[in-house]
Amino acid sequence: MAHLGPHLRETLRNLETLRDRHYPPPAELVHLIDTLYEQFIELIDAAIDRRTREYTAAAAAMADAASKTEAAINGLARTEEGLGKVTVAIDKVAALLARVAAL
C-alpha cells in the first residue's frame, strides 16, 4: 500500500527541481508547490485514518504524481503530464482533508 507522506515529499522535491531550472519560475509550478506545502502542513496535525478509501486514493495519486514529475525531470517534454498528475493528486488530498475535517 502506498503511503501518502513520502510520495508527497518526493513530489515536492521534484517540483522544486523543475522550478529551479527556470527563471523566472513558471507561475503554475509555484502555485502547485505552494498548494502542496499547504496540504503538507495541514496533514501534519490531521487525524488521518490510513484505512479509508480517501487515503488510499490520495496516496496512489501522489505516488503517480511523484513518478511522473521525476520523469519530467529527466525529460522536460513530460512536464505537462507530470503537472497534470500533481493536480489530480492535490484534489485527492483535498478530499482526504475534507473527510478529516468533517469528522
Partner: protein
Amino acid sequence: MPTGNRGSCLGRIVGVLLLAGLATGCAMTPQQKEQVGRFGKATATLGAFAADELPALRRQIIEMDSLTQVLAADGRMPAPDGERPISPDSARQRVAAAQALQAYGALLDALASGARKETLRSKAQDLVETFDSALHQGLSDAQRNAASGLIASLGALWLEKRKKDGVRAIVASYQQPVAQLGRLLAEDFTALGSGYLGAYTAVAGRLENRAKGVLADAPLTLTERQLVINALLDAEVAKRRALALEHAAHQAIAELEAAHAALTAVINDGDMRVESIRAYARSIQELHTLARVLTQP
C-alpha cells in the same frame, strides 16, 4: 482503567519498590561504568541540544509563517497562527509524554536512592497516572500488574535479589511505553517527518517558494526586493539548519537507544548495580527535559 484495580496494583508496586529500596548497591564493573558513561554522554548531548535549539525552532516556525503571509499577493493565505501546524492537542500530548518520562526517571531514581516509603508511593502513583494520560490506549493490565506478582513471594525484603527483581519488573513493564514516547520524540526530530522539525522544514519550503514566486512575478521597489530576498535567505538557512538538527538529534537518540539497550541487557542478565539504575533514571529525565522544550512558547 478501573480505579480499584489501580489502587490495588499501585499498592503492590509500591511494596516492591520499597523492598527494592532497602538494599544497597555495590561497586560498578568497568563494563557498567562504560555503559553508564555512554548513557550520560548521550543524554547530555540531547539536553544541550534541546536547550539551545528547540525554543528557537518553534519561534522560527511562527516567524516564517508570518513572512509567508506578508508575501501572499492574493490574500488567500490564512492568518498566521502561533499554534499552526502543531495544534494545542498535539502540544498537550507532548507535555503528557514529557511528564510520563519524568515520572519514570524519578521513580527509578527514588528506587536507586533508597527513598522513603511516602516518596516511593507518590512517585509510583505519578508513574501510573502519567503513563495512562500520555498513552492513547493507557497502560495495559499486564503493564499495570507487572510488579504485583512479585509481592507474594517476597520474604527477605532486604535481599539484593529482591531489589533486582523489582527493578527488573518495572523496567521490563515500561520498556515498551517508554520506547513509544521515545519514537514520538524521534519523529519530532525528522526533517521530512510529521513532527516539529517536519513542520519547520515545510514552513521554510513554502516561504522559499513564495519568495521565488514574488521575485519573479512583478517589478519590485528596492525595499520590497530587500524584504523578499531576506525571506528567501531565511528559508534557505532554515532548510539547511533542519538537516543539521536532524543529524545531531538522531545521532544523540541513537546513542541513547544503544546505551538503553546495553543497560537493559545488564538488568536482564541479573548483573545490575544501583549506580546503573540511577544513571538510567537521569537519562530518562533528560529525555523529559527535551520533550518539555518542544512545547515552550
